[in-house]
Amino acid sequence: MHGVAEPIQRLIDALERLPGIGPKSASRLAFYILRMPNDQVQDLAEAIATLKEQIVYCNRCQNLSQTTPCAICSDPSRDQHLVCVVEDPLDVVAIERTGVYKGLYHVLHGAINPVEGIGPENLRVDALLERLEKEPIQEVLIATNPNMEGEATAMYLARLIHPKGIRVTRLARGLPVGGDLEYADEVTLSRALEGRRDI
């Protein structure tokens, strides 16, 4: 952009690298930041600057955390025999919100996607297998997303873990709360029928 002072342009360029932010949004954000009170700008700058320094991967569950092992891994009240495998850190947040789950986690940081060239070697699968050797885990609950990539990942993990004699479970699949039966696809519906429960 012509006629914009260099420091502003630098910020615009930096913001433009973020996902979903085009040149217009970037300049709007840059000028907004320029008009923000000094302390808020300091806060924002500091939050960004310290992010990379203060966040580490928990060496046990591979989740993003301030400490390693993370708070969940070092909580003795959690069930040490049960580990829930998820794709992303945000999935841990979602499951924690339910308040129902009391076991440990393992974050893969993605799912197998053969057409994108993402294989198990790009995920934290080895770290999981290592844990299964070292820790007294009796059940692995696979909570990858219920889509093709998540299913492929789940099937792959099950294939690796079964020979170890450890129980492998999969999050149940069925109809979503607030959903509509007539719009359900046949795979979801047939799984919901198979997994029916007494009431």
Binding site: I112, P114, V115, G119, M148, A152, Y183, D185, V187
Partner: protein, 255 residues
């Protein structure tokens, strides 16, 4: 652009879901293959929310009827209904790996907006066959040769591609550059040509010319299967000038 304004704003098509990637908060950009328009990239909004009515109908390998509305960059899915979900392909990891490979191979050979109804039927047949295949690797070789034929790259397996002489029952050669077999006289001089055993040549000819029901009954040794896979893999990589990513996953599972 005048012609475009006369096109209907909403249209219906059958489609096979080839691949998809996440976009924004809850959307997916999906590559579909249709009989009428060939390959087309579309967007499905809100399909990553659990209550989406469309999500389950837009998973990879699904054969579905879609309603699409014209959009600026991508057409937008307004509704989706599964015709066949090929469930067996989703519930067996080896078959899943092959289904990914079949999709990626077709995606690599076709351009957007280039209709190819025969290839559409081929992929549907391939998914159907794969679901009950006693030998997925052999189904894959049939699919590769059928796709090459429809795409106009069928390898010449009866005459030497250099001299036109009928191939004799002996070890001949296969040239990636010439797209076919070479007799020993012409093959030995070609640096890039690889030996082609009589057995492999016969099997290739058989797959190229016979109906699938006959082909899938072939009992081949692991050695022959490996030869065929390598030869066709090399040929496809030569034509596409790249390696297909999903192939790596098939190999990984075999280990």
């Amino acid at each position: 652009m005048r012609a475009n304004s006369h096109r209907e704003r909403v249209y219906r098509t059958r489609a096979i879901i080839l691949k998809r990637r996440e976009q924004g908060e809850a959307d997916r950009v999906i590559t579909i293959f249709t009989p009428e328009f060939g390959k087309r990239v579309i967007i499905a909004k809100g399909v990553r929310k659990p209550t989406s009515r469309k999500a389950g109908h837009l998973e990879p390998f699904t054969h579905a009827t879609l309603m699409l509305a014209r959009g600026k960059t991508w057409d937008i899915v307004t509704s989706a209904q599964t015709i066949s979900s090929f469930r067996a392909l989703r519930e067996d990891l080896d078959l899943t790996a092959y289904a990914y490979y079949f999709s990626e191979l077709l995606d690599a050979f076709v351009q957007e907006e280039d209709p190819h109804p025969e290839l559409y039927d081929l992929l549907l047949d391939a998914f159907h066959y794969l679901e009950q295949s006693p030998n997925p690797a052999l189904t894959a070789r049939w699919y590769e040769l059928s796709l090459l034929k429809l795409a106009g790259f069928s390898p010449q397996l009866f005459q030497c591609v250099r001299c036109g002489q009928h191939l004799q029952p002996e070890t001949n050669y296969f040239s990636l550059e010439h797209g076919g077999a070479l007799c020993p006289r012409h093959g030995e001089g070609e640096a890039e040509a690889q030996p082609l055993s009589l057995n492999a040549l016969k099997v290739l000819r058989y797959i190229q010319s016979q109906p699938y029901a006959h082909i899938i009954r072939l009992q081949l040794t692991p050695g022959t299967m490996r030869q065929l896979e390598k030869l066709l893999g090399d040929y496809l990589r030569f034509l596409l000038e790249r390696r297909l990513k999903s192939k790596t996953f098939i190999h990984l599972l075999r280990r």
